[in-house]
């Protein structure tokens, strides 16, 4: 949102026009999150039945049918188009983390963790299932490999997200500016724990520790989804209570005499 | 040094260590055959519940905490071990 350059000249005209919503950028980023997650949810669940995860020990016949299904094709199309919103929703969190009194190392770790996580956890599965859906003619064994690859990348991609959640959690706990509540920091540490909990999916092909298992999927998802809602509500509060003067795109303190001359000659 | 030994915390620790050894012995002797043994299981689980409760009350100082914390922690110990024993006996 390039509002900053206009700020100096606009401030002189502001008396008659509507007050600028300087938090518009944050609110737009904020509202992409439910949009993005709802699109995701629709695509993954009722549309393609990719979620809840199918069994890792499905017979080859079922895997091939699934990979060639029409619904999976539509799901992949939507995913390819909507994928770009992921960075925007992460930007929403990072703008608030920037205000914290902790080292910038935390938000850089979060950023890189989110980037690598999105590539591995979302792009790779999209390619795998997309290959099955868009390209006919792969042998069943190749399709099975793509199926495994897709699901393992989606659920088993721990490392990147571990860093991200640990950085976010620690930032909140150590922050002295009280941007987000401390208990949320501890809740975020559990996000990190859910990644550890998901590690067994690499090994187990059935039972509670498989990628569709009670412990690694259902229980981990309960923690993960509840956190998403809660952090979202907390971010809403943080954006709302952020003082205008503190915003990155707040107008610089103008020198009164200089501003008068400038606005009259350039406006 | 003697004040340390007579400190209530040390006494609790001595109790905890003793029952730890006792329950290990119960499992080693009574459970040596590695077959289902409801006596051993009930004994070791109840002992574990008591140990957990002692650590929470004395080491974690919940004994001196407000009622809500006492209730929550005791409630957790109670609910957990009730569920554990419940599922165990239900499966036999």
């Amino acid at each position: 949102m390039a509002e900053a350059p206009k700020a100096l000249t606009a401030s002189a005209e502001q008396t008659t026009s509507r007050p600028k919503n300087r938090k518009l950028d944050q609110w737009i980023a904020f509202w992409t999150v439910p949009f993005f997650f709802n699109v995701f949810g629709l695509v993954f669940v009722p549309l393609s039945w990719m979620m809840p995860p199918r069994s890792p020990s499905s017979p080859t016949r079922h895997i091939v049918d699934f990979m060639h299904s029409h619904n999976l094709l539509v799901a992949c199309v939507i995913l390819t188009l909507a994928y770009g919103l992921a960075p925007v929703s992460n930007a929403c969190y990072l703008m608030q983390v920037k205000r914290m009194s902790v080292s910038p190392a935390f938000r850089y770790s979060m950023m890189i963790g989110a980037i690598t996580g999105a590539i591995v956890g979302m792009l790779f599965p999209m390619f795998c299932f997309g290959l099955g859906a868009f390209r006919a003619g792969y042998s069943p064994s190749v399709l099975t490999m793509l199926y495994d690859f897709g699901y393992l990348a989606f659920i088993g991609s721990l490392g990147c997200f571990c860093v991200m959640w640990m950085a976010f959690g620690l930032a909140i706990i150590l922050d002295e500016n009280k941007i987000l509540p401390k208990w949320l920091g501890y809740y975020t540490i559990w996000q990190y724990v859910t990644e550890l909990m998901a590690a067994p999916v690499w090994i187990a092909k059935s039972g509670p520790f498989a990628w569709n298992g009670l412990m690694t999927f259902w229980f981990a998802m309960t923690l993960y989804v509840s956190w998403q809602f809660i952090v979202y509500l907390c971010i809403y509060g943080a954006i709302k209570s952020q003082p205008e003067a503190e915003l990155d795109n707040a107008p610089l303190e103008p020198h009164p005499a200089a501003l008068e001359t400038t606005s009259r000659t350039t406006a | 040094m003697t004040s340390l030994i007579r400190n209530p915390l040390t006494i609790v620790w001595a109790l905890l260590t003793t029952v730890t050894i006792a329950s290990s012995w119960i499992a080693l002797e009574g459970g040596a055959s590695h077959r289902i043994n409801t006596t051993v299981t009930t004994a070791v689980l109840l002992i574990a519940a008591v140990k957990a409760h002692l650590v929470i009350r004395h080491f974690m100082e919940v004994r001196h905490a407000p009622v809500w914390l006492k209730a929550t922690t005791s409630g957790w110990v109670l609910a957990l071990f009730a569920l554990l024993l419940g599922f165990y006996f239900a499966s036999l």
Partner: protein, 203 residues
């Protein structure tokens, strides 16, 4: 957020009684949020273990026989002893005896550090013998639960180092921070007590 009890200089016990006078929540309440939540999360694992065990007693019993109960028991006593010294250290810090507190926390740290060491003596022979998380459901639960617990222990040791650093620094130590760190460590102890009974002892 919390009442910091003012202990008298005469003896650790009096400061403990003083703490009791006002319904004191030790350390920061956000740490208690974490503790209770962690209790619940591990609780789901514990009950899940018991449920799945119920479906295959034979498998779990024969697998249990391969565990090293001796190291398990020693580790239990190690953690209990470490907790004792953390509790004693916290009381000393509250009473203003920072030197005593520091000594006790160093002792607690030493015992605590023994836990992961002993764990390696337990895990490495087991893995060498071919008992891995993939062996069967019992061993999956065993490695996952003790693994996540071990991560908690390592984090606790780091926290304890920060507490020691705080006690060593000139000036009065932040009692709330000491209590918060202590609360975390005791939680780790409690979780192990349940794990010990479920994995090593029960039949």
């Amino acid at each position: 957020m919390t009442d910091v009890a003012e202990g008298s200089a005469t003896g650790v016990d009096q400061s403990q009684r003083a703490a009791g006078a006002r319904g004191h929540v030790p350390g920061e309440s956000s740490m208690w949020f974490f503790v209770i939540g962690d209790f619940l999360i591990f609780g789901v694992y514990f009950v899940g273990y018991m449920y799945f065990r119920g479906q295959n007693h034979e498998l779990f019993l024969s697998s249990q026989a391969r565990l090293n109960l001796d190291i398990g028991a020693i580790n239990t006593v190690v953690l209990l002893t470490s907790s004792l010294f953390v509790a004693l250290g916290t009381a000393a810090a509250r009473a203003g005896n920072t030197a005593d507190a520091l000594r006790r926390f160093w002792t607690a740290l030493a015992f605590g550090a023994a836990f992961p060491l002993l764990k390696m003596f337990e895990w490495i022979p087991e893995i060498s013998a071919g008992l891995t998380p993939g062996t069967n459901l019992f061993f999956m639960y065993y490695y996952v639960m003790t693994g996540i617990h071990l991560c908690h222990v390592l984090l606790g040791l780091v926290i304890m180092c920060f507490v020691i650093r705080n006690l060593k620094a000139p000036g009065t130590p932040k009692i709330s921070f000491v209590e918060t760190g202590a609360t975390y460590w005791h939680m780790v102890d409690v979780l192990w007590l349940v794990l010990f009974a479920l994995l090593y002892l029960m039949r």
